[in-house]
Symmetry: C2
Subunit: 344 residues, 2 copies
DNA sequence: TTGTATGCGTTATCAA
DNA sequence: TTGATAACGCATACAA
């Protein structure tokens, strides 16, 4: 169908009775070519509507100004923000971004990694899927000379650059805040423990209890309350206990915190007076619920910028600096009404 | 730094005392190669950890299984959803997605178009930037044999495939709904009128007034109320009028509708009894505000899928079918409490 | 400053 | 069924 013949440096050379190599030189660095011919070449290239064929150039030079990004879902606030941050930096550097969704599926993640490897991208930035045990596909990447940067959900055992939130510290801060507001029996909605981010959030929760010498009560720790619905279900269960919690830290997400709030409303339980709630991620809706929800801002755009910057730093430093390097992006506790028991 | 020599079909051929072309055949379609040697080749390729070099393959075949996407911002709900939809389809087809942000800047949009053109992507999917008058950069694309699909914010004058919401129809529906709930003086928060989506929404508003023979009152039509803050400012102005509106259609976004709601709260104005509010986009927060906000669901993921499907349809039909083709994705009016004057 | 020649890794055409 | 070879468009080392 589309057999349009594109303009090449050959065509330009022919038209000007020059050599393709001169055209190439003029178009690129401009070195070793007289000013007059250079201008002539540039002008004719423009006139003939010439566009470089980056594919050919990449094949020749062996490197590809492209970075691959693999995330579970593109249309999730946090990931969309990280990608936007990455893009901001890569754009400045003239790099392109190839985006893939793993859809939380191991199979798909492997396929994504492979296509990116085939494309010979110079770097793969990835937040791993939830259901993973074996990271051979990622080990393999490095053998092919492709940089690898993990973020957010990282596989600790892999020796790569990592950019993460300091989940533990901020989680501890959040729970300490709740304790200092007078909450005594704080429940935890936790995420899949094979992901380090959720292990860290739990660790922060435990550290806070320890600091204040509060007992760890296993029945107050609920697994896998990701969504609004699961958060609601967990809350119903918790509030039906003989000794129900007086606060809930929804460490999985603001969506599950929303589920908590909805159930509290349903049961006529006063928030924050009878039940404190803290979420995670600072979704836009947390500031307009009633009461507004205390949560954690992950600084996701900044995280994206940092990730990209890390790659270019490594690249420009010339040598494979610190393969195993951990960068912490400091998240912030955003205190809102849902945990302000004292002040109300 | 990274001078890893990658395994090529040459290496495989050498090892097996075969010819590179046989290896290529075995690896690709498998035609014209005996089963035994084919299996041998596949096995050794696996063992040697061979990965195709898609760059070389693309250069040779002349086509690139890559689609470029340009949006104003990646981290905006609507666009993130459209991209997710596109990705779902392109992934199935084995195509890659290169993503760029124009950041609402004309300059940047042109640069994005150019890099994608240089990469010889087979298709560019774009939602144009707000501040545009001249579309030469897009005209140019087609001259290079690259398909062009516009979505959402489209340049009418360009003869391309377009996928849009039926903004006018649903806007009319929304305003009719408000009128039938008893609102009489309905204000409009409108977006930049050089973008057709905003012209259409306004047209829907005007059509509804006309249908019910209500007068068009210029002082009730406010320009450029994009954000929560601008929506709030416009609302303050409107409510301070001698004859203030009894409803506001925030056709720009739910964020501006949120601004309206906040000001109403501030001034102690009852929603929906004294003031009706309708937003646009069905952001997740609209269902949990108090009252919940009537809005319009744009079916953005479906839109993304449709766009990608359109490209592959054109591709597979073999011939450049309908260059100028308009597909309407039906948005839906979501009626919530903020406009239910009668029922309350 | 310019031209010549070669190769990047593949696929496609032709011959064996 | 297999092998030899050219070509995709460009960049670069080297020669002129």
């Amino acid at each position: 169908m589309k057999k349009l013949k594109r303009v090449t440096i050959y065509d330009i050379a022919e038209k000007l009775n020059l050599n393709p190599s001169s055209v190439s030189r003029a178009l690129n660095n401009g070195s070793n070519v007289s000013l007059s011919t250079r201008e002539l070449i540039l002008k004719t290239a423009e006139e003939m509507n010439y566009k470089v064929n980056s594919i050919a150039a990449n094949l020749r030079t062996g490197h590809n100004q492209t970075i691959g990004v693999i995330v579970p879902r593109i249309n999730q606030n946090f990931f969309a923000n990280v990608i936007a941050g990455i893009e901001e930096v890569t754009y400045e550097k003239g790099y392109n971004l190839v985006i893939c969704q793993s859809n939380e599926s191991a199979d798909r993640e492997i396929k994504c990694v492979n296509t990116l490897a085939n494309q010979h991208v110079s770097c793969i930035i990835i937040s791993v899927s939830a259901d993973f045990e074996d990271y051979a596909h990622l080990e393999n990447i490095r053998k092919q000379g492709i940089s690898l940067i993990q973020f957010d959900r990282v596989a600790d055992e892999l020796d790569t650059m990592k950019v993460v939130n300091d989940n533990e510290k901020v989680s501890m801060e959040a729970v300490c805040h709740m304790i200092s507001e007078g909450y005594q029996r704080i429940a935890l909605l936790e995420g899949p423990q094979n992901l380090s981010i959720f292990r860290q959030r739990k660790a922060g929760y435990l550290a806070a209890l320890k600091k204040y010498k509060l007992p760890v009560i296993p029945e107050l720790i609920m697994e896998n309350a990701w969504t609004t619905e699961l958060g609601a279900a967990a809350t119903k269960h918790l509030l039906a206990l003989a000794e129900p919690p007086d606060a809930i830290f929804a460490s999985t997400s603001d969506f599950s915190a929303l589920g908590v709030l909805e159930v509290a409303d349903e049961l006529g339980i006063q928030v924050p007076q009878q039940l404190g709630i803290c979420g995670y991620s600072n979704e836009s809706f947390t500031q307009i619920t009633n009461p507004s929800i205390t949560t954690i801002e992950q600084n996701s755009v900044l995280m994206g910028k940092t990730i990209a910057q890390l790659y270019f730093d490594e690249l420009e430093s010339g040598t494979s600096v610190a393969q195993n390097k951990l960068v912490n992006i400091q998240p912030e506790l955003i205190i809102r009404n849902s945990t302000l028991k004292l002040s109300r």
